[in-house]
Amino acid sequence: MNRTFLALVTKEIIAFFRSWGLVAVVLYSFTLDIYIAGKGIEIQAKNVSVGYVDRTAGALSGKILARLHAPEFKTPVRFPSRKALYNAIRNRKIMVGLIFDTDFSREFYRGGPARIDLLLDAITASQSFQALNYLQNIVLDFSRTQVHVKLKIHKLFNQNARTSWFMSLAELLSITTLLGVILTAAVFVREKENGTWDIMLLMPIDPRITILAKSLSQVLILMGGIFLATGLILFGTFDLPINGSLAAFFLLSFFYAFTSAGIGLFVAAVSRSMLQVAQMAILIMMPMIFLSGAWTPIHAMHPLLQKLSLLSPLRYYIEGSESIFFRGTPWGDLWPYFAGVILLGGMLYYYGFRKIGKLF
């Protein structure tokens, strides 16, 4: 039994490394894709193009404009009229437009509310609102306020509020889910496509051993990918801190890999070709990732979706991993995450196992 189990696992791993297309996809997903997600998804305002129309003498407006500088803003561009500025925004040349009307500085020095018109391209919502935030702060400095309160900010866990930390980790966890499903399903569906399915069924092996060995082989490949991504991208490129136990993260990942393998088994049971696997995987994965808090904080969701997110094993995996990396939560306090992943994952794996077992 040990030998056949080992032979089954080895065979799948050999087959994986021989199909260079699959190797390329896995390598890409665990390195470049996570890098791009960490680097590319920038929610902070950066390189925002600014245009302005200035009908004042320019002393005060000049002071305000001088505060708009790199890296958040590009050098402001002057426009002759409101219409020209508006057109530039329409044509996506400018994202933020400021209009200083003739009475702006007069009103300001008279102490009355002075008005700046602000045109904002709100299509890239988060970026433009970040820019708005900056502008408000700048304008606030110029206003004489009665309140003498100063905020002293302590950013916890992610001191520089780097989105790359959060995004790269969340992407790694999502990729683990997606690849776990696709790789495991592929192992079975490729046999269907190549016509070796019948031969597999005719081997004098307990089907349970076959299923277990085949899914374990993919869990191992997945773990390899997670090692690679953690070392090369998370630590190597983005300098993620590790405040908790790295071993705890890998153990949690191992359990979670079985969860996604379980979904993969289900997908394999109902798909006849790799195309169907891809379709099914996306169909199942999307709600799971949406509900997990990978893209939106769970507390910002609709209350119903918040309840539903309790059912997504990815939620526990993400919260658990964040706690390990950033909060440095000790082993003893990680149990809710482990429990969530193992319980939900166990159920999913068992279901997938039964579902594909019916085909044997």
């Binding site: 065979k11 019948d198 031969i199």
Partner: protein
């Protein structure tokens, strides 16, 4: 004398680094049927696609005075060319009826619906015997009817150059006869040039000129009679070879030097063997060592009573009785869709049985549990020799050895022995996709007999394989049967292969229409010259 209607000059087709067909030349006159005969991968399809103007090639093709060197240059000729690609029902749409198909093909060819067209359409339907079925969807037609429909759809625009790629492969004998009759009529009435490839040597008799293909080259050409005359001197009754430059197959011995044996009237297959000999290729006889296991083999290996399989309302196998004895090669013959594969899959437990009783190796089969411990005593070669394409031949065999829990000390020498005896030892480190079809076939057999089963099921193992490899494969099965004493059940759509079987069962549309020794069957039809003809008679008699 007027120049030939079609002239193909030194056409070469390459796919990447592999040469599919090299410098092939041929000529055809109006109203002639030109035959292309050879195994899969011999280059027939590549040449046909080049001539049809749908594939790139080097060389020149001349049709009715118009020369072309690329698909683009062939474009003006397309209205005069009709191509029917390989594969049953490939050009058809499952949900369209017969009538809708004809309308559709008329529309895409932009044919005028005038008097002449309508009467031609009627005539085609009549010839194909499809007139009563114009309202039936193509998906509900039998394989033979599908091919006839494909053919008349291809003929609808009255092409002057008709190109058919294996139109008869896997089709039942009666439909094949009808297909040939349609072709014969059309070429005589319309003066069509017809190029036809086939996997069946026996169809050569229908062709005006034959071209034999072997690994990318045309090795012989001429009329059937002239070709046979060329090899008559080398064909003898099967006797052991006295010298080199000689091959013994199951039913013939071919020798370049005269030997002391009675001559035997050859078939076209002889050309492949004689050509191989003339090229100096050595084809060693096949030997099989005795099995290592001394497990007793029950005399009655399989007994099926009233075995039935339904897919929805379609009955794939209808109450089939069959017995398989040890030391017997049982041939399960029939066209595609006759129920051969379904039957084997029922025996193996890959399909649930819908009715009837099955006893395997003395054990009544009622549940998956009953099969579990039988698996190690059964060998199976699936259609198209499916094995793991990401692993080398050696890795594949080792994998199967481990699945069957063979200790490495026994498995390694056994793999080596089989590789040598079955002649694939030089390919041990190659991937299955890199093997020639004939080698792949024997390697698949090795994987199936590695654990020394007592019964062997083979699903169309000879399909598409060249004549020499096929004859060697049958010799190999013969040796396995004799030396190992096991039972072999093999399916095939080549009716002529009945001669290699101890007993044949003929299926027609899911029913058994014959179960006898080939000799008895031949005796029943004394006027039949070959198994083909005998089975054709049987087919005509047993109307379902």
């Amino acid at each position: 004398m007027s120049p030939a209607a079609l002239r193909v000059e030194k056409v070469t087709v390459r796919y990447g680094n592999t040469v599919a067909i090299e410098e092939a030349s041929l000529e055809a006159d109006r109203g002639e049927i030109i035959g292309l005969i050879g195994a899969d991968g011999a280059g027939k399809s590549s040449l046909l696609h080049a001539i049809a103007g749908v594939g790139r090639f080097q060389g020149e093709i001349l049709f009715e005075g118009h020369a072309y060197h690329s698909p683009k240059e062939a474009e003006p000729l397309k209205p005069h060319i009709g191509l029917m690609p390989q594969g049953i029902g490939l050009v058809l749409y499952r949900n369209l009826t017969v009538g809708e198909h004809l309308d559709f093909f008329a529309d895409i060819r932009n044919l005028k619906r005038n008097e002449a067209f309508l009467s031609y359409r009627e005539r085609l339907l009549e010839m194909a015997g499809l007139a009563p079925f114009t309202d039936r969807p193509a998906g509900k037609l039998s394989g033979g009817m599908m091919q006839k429909l494909s053919l008349i759809c291809t003929l609808l625009h009255r092409p002057k150059l008709l190109i058919l790629d294996e139109p008869t492969t896997g089709v039942d004998p009666l439909s094949r006869l009808e297909l040939w009759e349609i072709l014969d009529n059309i070429r005589r009435e319309e003066g069509t040039v017809a190029l036809i490839s086939t996997a069946y040597m026996q169809e050569a008799a229908r062709m005006d000129r034959i071209h034999l293909f072997d690994s990318g080259r045309i090795i012989a050409r001429g009329t059937a009679e002239a070709l046979l005359a060329g090899v008559r001197n080398y064909s003898y009754e099967p006797v052991p070879c006295p010298s080199e430059r000689c091959i013994q197959t199951g039913h013939y011995t071919y020798a370049l030097d005269p030997i002391d044996a009675p001559k035997k009237e050859p078939t076209l297959e002889a050309l492949f063997f004689v050509h191989a000999l003339q090229e100096g290729r050595r084809i060693p006889p096949i030997e099989v060592s005795p099995r290592e296991s001394d497990e007793a083999i029950p005399s009655l290996v399989m007994e099926a009573r009233g075995l039935t399989k339904r897919f929805g309302s379609f009955v794939a196998d209808d109450h089939i009785d069959m017995r398989l004895q040890s030391g017997e090669i049982l041939g399960l013959l029939g066209a595609n869709g006759a129920g051969k594969t379904t039957f084997i899959k029922m025996l193996l437990g890959l399909y649930p049985i819908d009715g009837g009783e099955l006893t395997l190796l003395g054990r009544p089969i009622r549940s998956a549990e009953d099969r579990r411990h039988l698996k190690s005593r059964i060998g199976y070669v699936s259609q198209h020799f499916a094995l793991y394409k990401d692993m080398t031949v050696r890795e594949n065999l080792l994998y199967f050895a481990q699945m069957h829990r063979l200790p490495l000390t026994r498995a390694l020498p056994r793999i080596q022995r089989l590789a040598e005896e079955l002649g694939f030892a030089p390919y041990m480190e190659a991937l299955p996709s890199e093997l020639p079809l004939g080698i792949n076939q024997r390697f698949s057999l090795a994987a199936a007999i590695l654990h020394e089963p007592v019964v062997l099921f083979l699903d169309e193992p000879t399909s598409g394989v060249d004549a020499i490899a096929r004859s060697q494969f049958w010799q190999l099965l013969q040796r396995l049967k004799e030396v190992w004493g096991i039972a072999i059940l093999i399916t095939t759509h080549y009716m002529s292969e009945a001669e290699y079987c101890d007993r044949v069962v003929l299926l027609k549309q899911g029913r058994k229409i014959a179960d006898d020794t080939p000799q008895h069957l031949m005796a029943r039809y004394p006027e039949a010259k070959s198994f083909e003809e005998a089975f054709l008679q049987l087919y005509k008699e047993k109307v379902i």
